[in-house]
């Protein structure tokens, strides 16, 4: 069974069907891209996966070590607990908190000490906070952010904010990482840098990655498989080379007039 299997997933808002009958399977360790024109329903799809929206119909199943879990309709924090973590299209860091706190907050769900230890600072509290801190700094090191651990997130340059968001998502120890336009607003240099980082963390954390992206160079370079959405429907899927040659995809991106000419 695939790690994530999405079956006939549909979401409608009143009369508008934002995601319609989408079926996809993600195998463990894959790096899969989701592309499509603006308003195709990509982010809605992520919001369905992560519990921000409840599906109108269809299912999202996650296979965690042989135990199959239905994610559709779960609360976002339960989805995160089940092993999905995400970044946001318009960065949603905890802006007025430090870089370190951003990561530590994401580690909260794995905290062992209980409330009394927090109130009365038993040794358990000190021990665990210490190891939590070391772990967070180790994670920040990967993104070359540990020297900025005490800066407020909002004071980081844009590219580093994107990186911090990925670090924060990784801190929840996910099996699947969902990246919503990670390269948006980056220059080619930063994008190249990001591409390397994504490849690296995928190896290092044995991650499965699903990413939405507009930057074709990034998608075509690193994704093993690509799904294409248009008007909420899946119009194509396959290897980058196949997608590049797909007539429907070209139509969706360039408009019908061009392809008919």
């Amino acid at each position: 069974m695939p790690l994530l299997s999405v079956d006939k997933l549909t979401k409608s808002f009143g009369g508008l069907t934002a995601v319609s009958n989408v079926t996809m399977n993600i195998e463990k360790g894959e790096l899969v891209g989701i592309i499509g024109p603006n308003g195709a329903g990509k982010t809605t799809l992520f919001n369905l996966f992560t519990g921000v929206y409840t599906p109108t119909s269809g299912s999202i199943k996650l296979d965690s070590d042989g135990e199959v879990k239905e994610l559709g309709g779960l609360k976002p924090y339960n989805v995160t607990k089940a092993g999905l973590a995400r970044t946001f299209q318009n960065i949603r860091l905890f802006k007025d908190l430090t870089v370190l706190d951003n990561v530590r907050i994401a580690m909260h769900q794995n905290i062992q000490y209980k409330l009394p230890s927090a109130f009365f600072r038993f040794n358990k509290f000190y021990n665990e906070e210490e190891s939590l801190r070391e772990e967070a700094i180790k994670l920040l090191d990967i993104f070359h952010l540990s020297h900025k651990k005490n800066e407020l997130a909002k004071n980081l340059p844009y590219g580093e904010q994107r990186h911090l968001e990925i670090a924060r998502a990784l801190a929840t120890k996910p099996a699947i990482l969902l990246l919503d336009e990670p390269a948006a607003g980056m220059n080619p240099n930063e994008t190249a840098n990001l591409t390397e980082t994504i490849e690296w963390i995928r190896q290092e954390f044995k991650l499965t990655i699903l990413l939405i992206e507009h930057d074709m160079s990034l998608v075509m370079k690193i994704c093993e498989r690509i799904y294409v959405l248009d008007y909420g429907m899946m119009i194509a899927s396959g290897k980058p080379a196949e997608i590049r040659a797909n007539k429907k995809v070209i139509e969706a991106y360039l408009g019908e007039d061009v392809s008919n000419a």
């Binding site: 982010t43 919001n47 921000v52 946001f88």
Partner: protein, 292 residues
């Protein structure tokens, strides 16, 4: 049955007053998303202006009402310009706290000048009473309901048929877009405050006549209840505020009439919490959700 009808009649006159105040809340909330806590106190000041106009200037009901509405409109605009406008881009909590501050300021400045004691309102209307199928209706109640209805019709006319009304509706939908279309957002907001405050002032005079007593803290409870009425009707919706006001008024008189009048206020607040939980958008409100 007669007692029930009597309570409903009392409820309608009380409810029309709540509706008049609720209109101001709903209009201001619709346009700048602010619970204008000071609105209940504009109503209190309206009651005092009416008191002064009738007692010292020896004016009749209608001239006193008109003068009160004009002065309250000016007060509303001043409050908006001085306290709320500098905070147009602040967090909503900051503006809400400011509104609470303005509310306290009006209450205690008034207390400083007129004292804390309760005053009885001068009699401007005759105490005539009508009997209709066993229900007692007095002339004050008729004045209250007729005035309230007339003002609401006037408001509907302003909002739907005039240029100002069109601008108000545009700003409440999208402030930035309205600005780009050449609508003067600042003056539109001022007009909204002026109209809302004038209505609150009118309600102040009516309540003074109805309950025959006024004091500097009289605005707190009716203010809160009118706000609840606005929430129940669907905040931002003008017909909603009217329906909400009447419903809260009738509910209150029924609770006092049949249950325990001591629990009247608690019932209204319990009602509010239930609405907020079951249908936070109210009867006629629009649903908005944050984009992720």
């Amino acid at each position: 049955m007669e007692q029930f009808l009597q309570q409903v009649v009392n409820g309608i006159s009380l409810g029309s007053i709540y509706a008049l105040i609720a209109l101001g809340y709903t209009m201001v909330y619709g346009i700048i998303n602010l619970i204008n806590f000071a609105h209940g106190d504009v109503y209190m000041i309206g009651a005092y202006i009416g008191f002064a106009a009738i007692t010292y200037a020896k004016l009749g009901f209608f001239p006193a009402l008109v003068i009160t509405m004009i002065l309250c409109a000016i007060l509303g605009v001043v409050i908006e310009r001085v306290a709320y406008k500098p905070l147009r881009n602040s967090t909503r909590i900051a503006v809400l706290i400011t509104a609470i501050g303005v509310s306290l300021l009006l209450e205690y400045v008034m207390m400083f000048f007129v004292g804390a004691e309760v005053r009885s309102y001068p009699k401007v209307l005759s105490g005539e009473v009508f009997h209709l199928v066993g229900v007692v209706i007095n002339i004050q109640q008729i004045y209250i309901v007729v005035t309230a209805i007339a003002l609401m019709i006037l408001l509907q006319f302003i909002v739907h048929k005039t240029k100002i009304g069109k601008a108000m509706r545009a700003v409440s939908v999208d402030q930035d877009a309205a600005q780009l279309m050449g609508i003067k957002v600042d003056s539109t907001i001022s007009y909204t405050f002026a109209i809302g405050s004038a209505f609150a002032g009118a309600a102040g005079v009516l309540v003074g006549i109805y309950y025959n007593s006024i004091d500097p803290l009289m605005g707190i409870m009716p203010g809160l209840k009118a706000f609840i009425a606005a929430v129940f009707g669907g905040i931002g919706s003008i017909p909603g505020a009217m329906i909400g006001g009447l419903s809260i008024g009738i509910m209150e008189t029924l609770v006092s009439g049949y249950g325990n009048s001591m629990y009247r206020d608690a019932a209204v607040f319990a009602f509010l919490i239930i609405i907020l939980i079951l249908k936070p958008t109210g009867l006629l409100g629009k649903n908005t959700r944050e984009k992720v």
